[in-house]
Amino acid sequence: MKQFTLSIIILISVSTAFAQTNIIGTVTDNKKQPVAGASLAIKDSYDGATADSLGRFRFKAFDKGSQILIISAVGYKTIELTIELKGGEIQLPVQLKQEITEISAVVITAGSFEASDRNRVAAVLSSIDIVTTASANGDVTGALKTLPGAQQIGESEGLFVRGGTAAETKTFIDGTLVNNFFFTSTPGIASRGRFSPFIFKGTVFSTGGYSALYGQALSSALILESIDLPEQSSANLNISILSLGAGFQKLSKDKRSSWGVNYNYSNLTPAFAVIKQQQDYLKAPVAHNIDLNYRIKTSKNGMLKYYGYYTTNSLAFTQNSLDSMNYKDKFSLTNGNMYHNLSWKESLKHKWKFTAGVSLSTNKDDISFGMQDAQKNDVLLNGLQFKNFNLNNKGFYGNAKLVLEKKFRGLNALRFGSEYNHSDDKNNITIFNGITFNNRIVENVYALFAEQDVYLTNNLAAKFGVRAEHSALLSKTNVAPRVSLAYKLGKQSQASLAYGIFYQNPELRYQPALNPLIFMKAEHYIAQYQKTTSLTTFRLEAFYKKYDNLIKTSNVNGRDIASSNNGFGDASGFEFFWRDKKNVKNLDYWISYSFLNTKRDFLNFPTAITPNFAAKHTASLVMKKFVTKLKTNVNLSYNYASGRPYYNIQFDPNTNKTYFADRGRIPDYHNVSFALNYLPGIGKKNPKAFAVYVLSVSNIFNIKQVYGYNYSANGMRRQELVPPSRMFVFIGAFISFGVDRTDDAINNNL
């Protein structure tokens, strides 16, 4: 017995003393690159090691027999190996497979700029950049004009992208199309966007090659995502030389829903009294604007959002007439616009997700053109009766969209869905003698789309999409394929390619036409190189765009009426973007440059020419600096565009053709803008109110900017088309109560 006991004791001690196995080896990935920092662990034991910078490891295991070795590393799939521990040494080559994750995988960035707070390589701007760009003046599209691809156009609103017209850019809020994104056009003045930049948390500005989920835009898609629940309830007040406003945002106690309301009244009379305008205002612009929002979390990942908006604005001005000396051209406008957007996204079982959205809007314009004499009496001049007319436009628009998404392993995803777009435009023109011409165009566009994301590895991704559309008005159907690819060249660099066909209906104002019209078409080819670190972004992009079936007009009784789809054109160029938050201390800046070579023959152009909205060289420099001592944010921007061509195209009834009565090139465009934001409350503990004071000056050097020429009807006289004022100064204060809305308020310029 004694011996037996002894043997047990010996056995126990032997089992602890001699069971030691040395495990050595190297951890690599499937490209034979070492995986530094990989963890090796014997299951249910303390034994293990971390791979060194060359992927090598060495450790002692004290257990015996069959054991499980777990090898894991961030970004790789964890593997388990069964190993036999029996003393001595085990040599183990270990190979890990990369996990395809959002952080490690390549992102398709060709043709798109993202402004959001997501940590993605595509996000070259943050959402706050949209409002802190000095030349942006608090307008959503303002900051985008400092990015490559967009033109510096000052005489009319919209984004003119890569040789395209403003109408070739479409805007989407939470997935659905927005009609009348800008205030109604006013001759020679760029209207502002209707929506406050503060209601958006994410912006994707596509300068080409965009996803099959979107359509009806030949050049560009501007995709805006509205904000989710606020962090806290708050109230805010704003006062400036342009407007007065107040708002309230209430977050429910369970933090699952919120509602808010804002009202804003703007009146430019005081500002125009100080800053002399080119136009002689009979009625300075006045606007009332009210918006409502409601957001509710429907589940962990589900969210229902409503945003409603109503605005009414009016203005009237005169300008010296070119047609008759000592007389003035008069323009007046009253606009009412309502917009509702309801969107719902929800995650379903089995990695399905759906996004549904509906938007409805109405727009009413009452516009009147006329003439006045020196004493400001309305007059009707013989021979110039055509200058007196009224336009009454009423539009109703609806857009509905449903997208279903199924996620597969490793980021692979399939999206498909449908979109319906309805528009009903009623235009009445009443000419000088009281005769009214009525026109009503109803259009229904139905679309089906599908898109597949394919991630072959972390380094290679592709997106295949197709979109089919049917237009009831044109009674035509199109099918548009889209493909994009991205390949990771290194840890920080990647290359992307994109190709796609894009169709767009002729604008409704060209309907009805002399002959049936068909879809206009553009084909995009894009190649991009991008290198990103956490504080810098470098981008180089080259593109080629081919236009077909553009609208041509014919002159009928002195009016240009759409007659065919025989127009065509192309655009090519390259663009450069550099953003740097690192190399100059405390300074954040970006530089962009675009080279554009484009020609087109459309509308009344006599031949293919570089259109008057296309500058060959466009560049911007944007700088931001926070001066801690002064609690002030300083923003500076410089925009440049080389001289655009200008044309006066006249119709010759003898040859039945148009010709250039005048043509040339306008001077180069320069604009230096500057904005200061003073935040006295910053850093204060629990402030009851938080104030931001803003001073911004556009065109601080008072440089003369010419956008083109206005011509008299007979083409005999011309006048420079210049901004309403050379320089503009804005002063305002924004105060929020209850919550520190520093970032929000920082540059609420308008």
Binding site: I8, A41, G48, T50, N119, D588
Partner: protein
Amino acid sequence: MKQVLLGLFFATIFANVFAQSERYAGAMQKNLEAFAAAKTAAEMHDLSNSFERIADVEKTQWLPYYYAAMTEVLNGYMITDKAGADVIADRAELLINKADAIEKNNSEISCVKSMIASLRMMVNPMQRWQQYGALSSQLIEQAKQQDPSNPRPYALLAQNLFYTPAQFGGGCTTAKPVAEEGVKLLNAFQLKSPLHPSWGKTQFDMVMDQCK
């Protein structure tokens, strides 16, 4: 004989259990010594892996996960290219959540959570200050409430304030009183075991030295 055998049998079991806890204490002690000496990001990550291995075996102990998370955060603080810090913060968060599941409402754990929020902020301070700066401060407050005698939330706060410009309500004027308060707490703090968190002195000394 039977009794002797039975006695021996129990003795072996006791010895095994004792050896087990001794092994745990020994391994932790060894790691804590290595932690005190660690100077590089790679060493911190190695320690994090090592603490995690202990944690995965000792399923009822929160300290190994706590240290595994802590060393991983410090790895994140030490790497030069902060672009990779999000992934590190993700891992640290996973580990601290495991500690949290074992030991709920723990002040020390809230401190590490605050450090993780600060790490995420460092990836892009300009953009993330609002979200993660606020979260970090909130977690420090939470740690204070969970254990008012814990000096470590004060160490984090004093350090944060010291590095915040005076114009934003930071600097010596606000950091020093917090450090002074923390030093008092640290001197009075009763350690539950040699393995429990005891850090804070370095942070207080730094602030007190710089703010003389």
